[in-house]
Amino acid sequence: MNWLDTIVQGVLLGGLYALFAAGLSLVFGIMRLVNLAHGDLIVLAAFVILALVTTLGVSPFVGALMAAPLMFAAGWALQYFLLNRTLGKDILPPLLVTFGLSIVIQNGLLEGFSADSRRVSAGSLESASIALGPVNAGIMPLMTFLSAVAVIVCLNQLIYRTAVGRAFRATSDDPVTAGLMGIRPQRIFALATGLAMVVVTIAALYLGTRANFEPTSGPARLIYAFEAIIIGGLGSLWGTLAGGVILGIAQTVGAAINPEWQILTGHLAFLLVLLFKPRGLFPRAVD
């Protein structure tokens, strides 16, 4: 077994999982909303990028840049007009609504794009790699990881350094008091979901260039996102990155021992964290 290579590939894979999870983590951290349609929204964004790339003939990166504002608007509207109505003391309505949304998105995509397995082509970048000492790291996985780090740095800057971020944190802590101070929680929530959709678009770019996707491939991505968040600790974005990396390394090490254990060891790592640190490794939220 080539340990160094196994670890490096695991870390790079962790970047992908962290990207899947970052949007979910943001939404959960601010409004305690578990978005079960998150995986399907990633696939939806991938189809939006695909549509832009095929109709306009632009590169996938430009496509993602164009898709980001669209997805932001969609996320804003989704939160403002639909999900805000479900938020309240009861945690069940948002779960049910996002579950339904997941089915609606899947079938909508099936109608619009058929069941074909699709892919966004990144040209020669796909197979390119650079040598990092004794190991070869693919350019795309490397970019995925760096993007994950960049997304988390940016979100942290936004949340802890800006007025909007202060409003996010205030609303997260106590929406009623934040409301008394002149913040409108409904708008803050909509803004947060819009931002989460921008992160989703970035995740979709790397998902779409990495492997094929179909209208129904969303839910399979959701579980890794959840696990990354739980491992890292609810509400902590850096924790989410750490969670993704731990999940990725657990998978590649498991696979190196026996490919049958690849997915299993990821889940086992998650269970171990739940067992010994039920609130995750770097929990921030108090509830």
Binding site: M1, N2, D5, T6, Q9, G10, L13, L16, Y17, N107, L110, S114, A115, D116, S117, R118, R119, S121, G123, E126, S127, A128, S129, N136, A137, G138, I139, M140, P141, R210, A211, N212, F213, E214, T216, S217, A220, Y224, G248, Q251, T252, A255, A256, N258, P259, E260, Q262, I263, L264
Partner: protein, 426 residues
């Protein structure tokens, strides 16, 4: 959940119906349409297999109407879900009271439907799943060959693992390699059968002088193949084979290129069946090879319409504006068989008589001659399985973009013309 009460209700209802309908049978039998039930995955991950169904059924109904035959087809969607497939099969039998059930595409669809039909004594013709997962997968104890029993109502036509092994090794023999083979088998029905130490690839490859590097079964929807790639690199493999789902193959192939693993041949089942999935690979799909069950160049004609393979594929492209796919031929052949069987059956409404007629079939279909005569089959499967020819081919990039599937080896079925020689992956 089928409870005791449901059982009593349905048996009582069908019993009463059987008695009354039996009395009036001669009067309505003249005009009653022959009812065919058809189950296939039209939505979900396997939907690409069911893509041609609407076209095939529409043209079937148009043909039978023109021929003055009275047929009705009840179509059910399995939603790519085995439980759902069993449920709709029961609906077809109990609610729709069909005379014959047809089912296609992957063991996940064919097996639950065939098992339900066998239990309900409903004749069933199934296809598009290698016969081992179909036959052995339905047995009570797949691990014990002595306990395997043939079926009375379920019949299947397709090729088997022995054919795909022969096709792949024939293709590999055309190119000079070091005979080191990399095996990529997932932990699912197909992967376990292909990688099986007694009926799968390993024993045959060993006999033919190939060395197999098989790191073990991976789960479908895996995001990282670095462990397998490392194993293949240290095994110096020049040939890759396996039966993986399309997203996993894309992930594997990209990672292999990034890691500098460049085999000369890649013969993969399942992932490379459809032109859409090969196109999703971009230029990296050039010269990948796959098993071929049906193409427009197969020299067979429909027994229903007399049209050639090329004509039917052309019609499909014209009607749907989509490239032809391999399941078209088999879906069409299913309906050819249905008409042929019903024509010969002593009483189309009697399950036993229809099953008898299926067993006696000798028909030249769009996918080749079909007869349940046990040819090239082990004795235990001889009654219920009929084999269709299998060849191998490579996907070649066309000048204007898109891919052509070129038949590169026909040693297993010389009647099917080759379109070129094997080329190593550049």
């Amino acid at each position: 959940m089928f409870t005791r009460r449901d059982f009593l209700k349905t048996t009582a209802a069908t019993g009463a119906f059987a008695v009354t309908s039996g009395l009036s049978m001669p009067a309505i039998a003249q005009n009653a349409p022959v009812k065919l039930g058809y189950v296939s995955p039209q939505t979900g991950p396997l939907a690409a297999f069911g893509e041609a169904d609407k076209f095939v059924i529409d043209s079937f109904l148009a043909t039978t109407e023109a021929m003055g035959l009275n047929y009705e087809v009840v179509v059910k969607d399995s939603q790519s879900n085995p439980n759902r497939a069993a449920e709709v099969a029961k609906e077809l039998i109990v609610t729709d009271e069909v005379n014959l059930v047809l089912v296609a595409s992957t063991p996940e669809t064919t097996n639950p439907v065939a098992t339900t039909c066998e239990a309900e004594e409903m004749p069933c013709i199934s296809t598009v799943a290698p016969w081992q997962p179909w036959f052995i997968g339905q047995q009570g104890n797949p691990g014990d060959p002595s306990s395997w029993k043939p079926f009375d109502y379920a019949y299947h036509f397709f090729w088997g693992l022995e054919d795909v092994i022969a096709v792949f090794t024939n293709m590999w023999a055309q190119i000079e390699t070091n005979k080191q083979v990399a095996g990529l088998f997932p932990n699912d029905g197909d992967g376990n059968a292909w990688g099986d130490k007694t009926v799968g690839f390993p024993p045959v490859l060993e006999k033919m002088g190939y060395a197999l590097t098989d790191p073990g079964r991976h789960q479908n929807m895996t995001d990282d193949f670095s462990a397998q790639i490392n194993a293949f690199k240290s095994g110096q493999c020049e040939i890759v084979t396996g039966v993986v789902i399309p997203p996993d193959f894309t992930t594997f192939w990209n990672q292999a290129k990034q890691q500098g693993f460049a085999p000369k041949i890649a013969s993969i089942g399942k992932a490379l069946l459809f032109p859409q999935t090969v196109e999703a690979l971009g230029d990296a799909g050039h010269n990948l090879s796959s098993e071929i069950w049906w193409t427009p160049s197969h020299p067979f004609k429909s027994s229903l319409t007399g049209e050639s393979s090329a004509e039917i594929a052309g019609k499909f492209t014209k009607a749907t504006n989509r490239p032809w796919t391999q399941p078209i031929g088999f879906a069409h052949a299913l309906f050819e068989l249905a008409v042929d069987v019903m024509r010969r059956a002593a009483d189309p409404t009697d399950g036993g008589a229809v099953a008898e007629a299926i067993a006696a079939t000798r028909l030249d279909t769009l996918v080749g001659p079909i007869a349940w005569d046990g040819k090239d089959l082990p004795p235990f499967a001889a009654k219920n399985v009929a084999k269709t020819p299998l060849v191998g081919g490579q996907w070649r990039l066309k000048d204007g973009g898109g891919y052509d599937l070129v038949i590169t080896d026909n040693k297993t079925a010389p009647a099917i013309p080759v379109g070129g020689k094997m080329e190593p992956i550049a």
